[in-house]
């Protein structure tokens, strides 16, 4: 019985509140003015993918290349590309080499050298552009190393030479090459930031 009365009282209060809201509403709605505009916005992507292919869009992932040494025979320099698959221009890229090891009486070192503005002749190991050192990597120092050598424009590729040294007597390993691009932090690797007035 008491609950029924309470519900009725609540319903009456709600009805009164709604009525008050409806009565007050026109005075507010009638006294405002608006002006609107729009802007379509998209954010960019920043991405570098290592690949052994010289064309096409590579799938995300690292590149693995085998190296070996038997007494006097050592794997010659190997080559891969760093492809800018993002929509943003880059000024720097980070490189990392994992998997180095497997040598007897040696400390294998992978040295990466980019051919900026050209490509490597994989037969003669000559760069048609400007050879630019990326860095040397060992099992103890795999990187990543942040350098200015980067596939700068969207869709471009940077040709990179990977040469091994300090192999010791013999051994083999598979090096895994990775690339990273960071939008900000200690060093910005993207172009810009940009301010546009339009």
């Amino acid at each position: 019985m008491g609950g029924s009365l309470g519900r009725r009282a609540g319903a009456a209060a709600l009805a009164a509140a709604l009525l008050a809201a409806l009565v007050a509403r026109p005075a507010v709605a009638g006294g405002t003015a608006q002006a609107t505009g729009t802007a379509a916005v998209t954010s960019s992507t920043w991405s570098v993918i290592p690949t052994t292919s010289s064309s096409g869009t590579p799938s995300p992932g690292s590149v693995s290349i085998g190296f070996s040494h038997t007494l006097v025979l050592t794997t010659p320099p190997q080559y891969f590309y760093a492809a800018n698959t993002g929509t943003r221009s880059l000024v720097r890229t980070s490189y990392e080499v994992d998997g180095i090891g497997g040598a007897l009486l040696g400390n294998p070192t992978i040295t990466l050298t980019a051919c900026v503005g050209g490509t490597w002749n994989t037969g003669t190991n000559v760069c048609s552009g400007t050879p630019t050192a990326i860095g040397s990597f060992t099992a103890a120092s795999p990187g990543p190393t942040d350098v200015a050598a980067a596939p700068t424009s969207s869709g471009s590729r940077l040709h990179i030479q990977a040469a091994v040294s300090n192999f010791g007597l013999l051994g083999s390993f598979t090096a895994v090459f990775s690339t990273m691009v960071t939008s900000s932090g200690a060093v910005r690797q993207l172009s810009g930031p940009l301010t546009t007035n339009a």
């Binding site: 006294g31 729009t38 992932g61 007035n197």
Partner: protein
Amino acid sequence: MAAHSIRSSRTRSRKRVALAAAFAAGVLALTGAGVYAGLNAVATGTADVTSGTLSLTVTADVGAGFGQTISNMAPGDTYNSFVKLTNGANLAAKDLTLAVTGSGSTLLTTDGTKGLAVAVTQCSVAWTLATGACSGSTTALLASTPVATLSSTPGSVVSGAIAASTVWHLKVSVSLPDQSETTTNGTPPGGTIQGLSTTLTFTFSESQRTAVTTNA
């Protein structure tokens, strides 16, 4: 002879009664009309009344204004649009606000830290498009505020009274906050800000001036 005299006398008597009744009715009618005219006395006056008009419009000031495509934004980028906002018509206003909403639901408009932010700055004269500089004096009307906030809580642009015919030269800045995000071998991290899109809608709103009571 005597019978004829009696009939004649009765006829005259009836005429007299009829005349008396007609007279009485006429007196009553005249008296009643006078009273009725006295109850309808009228006094008149006039007052011309017009209602005010409240109008807010936004147009391109220098450059293309709103309606542009801002593409390929990276962290730290800022895109400035220059618009002219006018409180037109003849009614003063108050309390100008800006709400910004985005189509869809992406981090661009839902993340208060990584998502887009909007700022509004006023110049006393039209902005210089090439440099984005103001040759007059500037006033920061709305500090950089996340769209995630402005979509639910409009930001105050002008607090208080706004005179009729007020014109603002505004620089509306859309920015993507600087943030560190690393893409490894072409794979972005989870919750990436990359490759997203939205259409922002900017809504400036104002209220009519405070109602006044005039005694004149």
